[in-house]
């Protein structure tokens, strides 16, 4: 499930359109700029404008609603919880008071304003990142980060992680299915089943780690035969479209 959403966004970024062709450095700069503005500036207008812009971008590249909702909903729900919290907990001038189940809830103007601000900020910043990831393949992003002087080591590990996550994911899911077929994941809600499920999970983690470790040795050997000298990136093959 997690991989599905991951792959969908990833596959989407491979498409060819005006935005995917744009230099990743420009997209990163714009995203950071927009994020900074949303978070640093007060008011409701700016987040709304940015959300309108990002929404039209997503429409323009025909993003499936499934991706948008799948990615926007969880943070927005969380944002709504915070909105409620702030609305009730913030002190200031009271707007109205409610009696729910014997509890007296008071809503204050300042809380309402702050809650709305945070909610709007969340919505618009999630949409900014969504636009960035929908139009920028991770490797393009990696090279852009290098250009922005993000330490090479971090970018190299990022790109290796991106590459091998897919390989490990497939291996891990095979192990998980093999465990499931031998009833390694019974019902979590009864104690015996729960214990077994925890056990299977930790075994799966260990097996994936061991495979990763062994694969690293082979990958290193393969890199050596092609003249590896300690640098993994920087040998970018340029796109000539």
């Amino acid at each position: 499930m997690v991989k599905d959403s991951y792959l969908m966004v990833d596959a989407f970024a491979q498409r060819d359109n005006v935005f995917t062709r744009m230099d990743a450095r420009i997209k990163v700069s714009l995203s950071v700029l927009a994020l900074t503005a949303v978070i640093a500036l007060p008011g409701f207008i700016l987040p709304l404008i940015i959300f309108a812009l990002t929404s039209s971008l997503m429409l323009a590249v025909r993003t499936p609603l499934k991706i948008v909702l799948g990615r926007m909903l969880p943070p927005v729900i969380l944002g709504f919880v915070v909105f409620l919290l702030m609305t009730f907990f913030h002190q200031g001038s009271q707007v109205l008071s409610l009696k729910v189940l014997g509890l007296e809830l008071e809503i204050y103007r300042e809380g309402l304003v702050l809650g709305t601000t945070v909610l709007l900020r969340i919505i618009s910043s999630v949409s900014i990142l969504l636009c960035l990831s929908l139009t920028t393949p991770v490797h393009e992003l990696g090279y852009a980060l290098l250009w922005f002087r993000i330490p090479r080591v971090i970018v190299e590990i990022l790109l290796l992680t991106y590459r091998y996550l897919f390989v490990l994911w497939d291996e891990g899911m095979r192990i998980r299915q093999a465990q499931a077929m031998r009833l390694g994941y019974p019902d979590w809600r009864n104690p015996a089943g729960w214990k077994k499920a925890v056990n299977s999970t930790s075994t799966l983690m260990a097996m994936v780690f061991i495979r990763a470790y062994d694969r690293a040795e082979n990958t290193f050997a393969a890199m050596q035969t092609r003249g590896y000298n300690g640098e993994v990136t920087g040998q970018r093959f340029k796109k000539t479209a």
């Binding site: 590459r163 990958t219 092609r226 003249g227 040998q235």
Partner: protein, 283 residues
């Protein structure tokens, strides 16, 4: 001789003796197959002759010079090694970046790097995948990309560990034809490991059988498969057609002078029996 191996021994740190005195010679320009069952030491042997593992004894000469005298760069300009699992080898995010890794490490100018990348991808038949992320490739495409990564170094010999493992029959044929093309057209010596006996007579000029860290047999496919007992004793078997011919000769008394190894040879043998034309295969 592009490669000579003399009395090479290798023992893993846990005490497992993987190679116990391996000798072999590989003439340049040939298609050589190293045949051996699982655990016979094929991968270890390849890692030793590519300088990835250091043998505790024995000599390895590449183009007449001892392996240890080569700098890493000199060595890997001459020898390319394709790992069994292409996922081990393809570590860069895109195909083009991965193929460029070797040439960039050779410190070639950018123009030469991109020329080599394009040529290599063209040679293995996937030029259109140059900007594709590796995880969107099929298994067969990954194998090709891995071979391209090695080709871009322009080695004189390419060593492949089980290049056909995990491929369907169509995929096996395509990869083998690619290797034959590299061998015949580009003049690159090929040394590949497999335990797929039926592949051998179709493609190999010369074969070696490796078993429990020893070379049991060496020679042309016909020479090696004529030693049936040794082949079978090494957890291997004859090619299917040869086995059929053996049964036809023993049980049905067909005239079989020399065991046919390929379908073409078998056809000739059967036709000569059917037509009574015993000249071709004797009586």
């Amino acid at each position: 001789m592009i490669m000579e191996v003399h009395q090479v021994q290798y023992t893993y740190s846990d005490g497992t003796k993987a190679l116990e005195g391996v000798n072999l010679q590989i003439p340049g320009g040939q298609f050589t197959i190293l045949l051996g069952p699982n655990g016979s030491g094929k991968t270890t042997f390849f890692k030793v002759i590519t300088g990835l593992l250091k043998p505790e004894q024995g000599d390895i000469n590449i183009e007449g010079r001892p392996l240890q005298e080569f700098s890493r760069e000199e060595l890997y300009r001459r020898i390319g090694f394709v790992f069994q699992d292409p996922n081990d080898q393809l570590f860069a995010p895109t195909v083009g970046d991965d193929v460029a890794f070797g040439p960039v490490n050779l410190k070639l100018p950018p123009d030469e790097v991109s020329k080599r990348v394009r040529d290599a991808l063209e040679m293995v038949g996937i030029p259109h995948l140059i900007n594709k992320p590796v995880h969107y490739l099929s298994y067969g495409q990954k194998k090709r990309a891995a071979i391209a990564g090695v080709l871009a170094m322009k080695p004189g010999i390419i060593i492949l560990d089980e290049p056909t493992a995990g491929l369907d029959p169509g995929g096996v044929r395509e990869i083998m034809q690619l290797l034959v093309k590299l061998n015949k057209k580009e003049g690159i010596s090929i040394l590949m490991a497999t335990h797929d006996v039926d592949l051998v007579p179709l493609y190999a000029d010369r074969i070696f059988i490796l078993h429990m860290g020893h070379i049991l047999l060496a020679g042309t496919p016909a020479e090696v498969f004529s030693r049936k007992e040794i082949v079978r004793g090494a957890q291997l078997r004859l090619p299917r057609v040869a086995h059929l011919a053996e049964i036809l000769a023993n049980r049905d008394h067909l005239a079989v002078a020399e065991l046919p190894l390929t379908i073409g040879e078998a056809r000739k043998m059967i036709l000569s029996n059917v037509n009574g034309d015993v000249d071709a295969y004797g009586s």
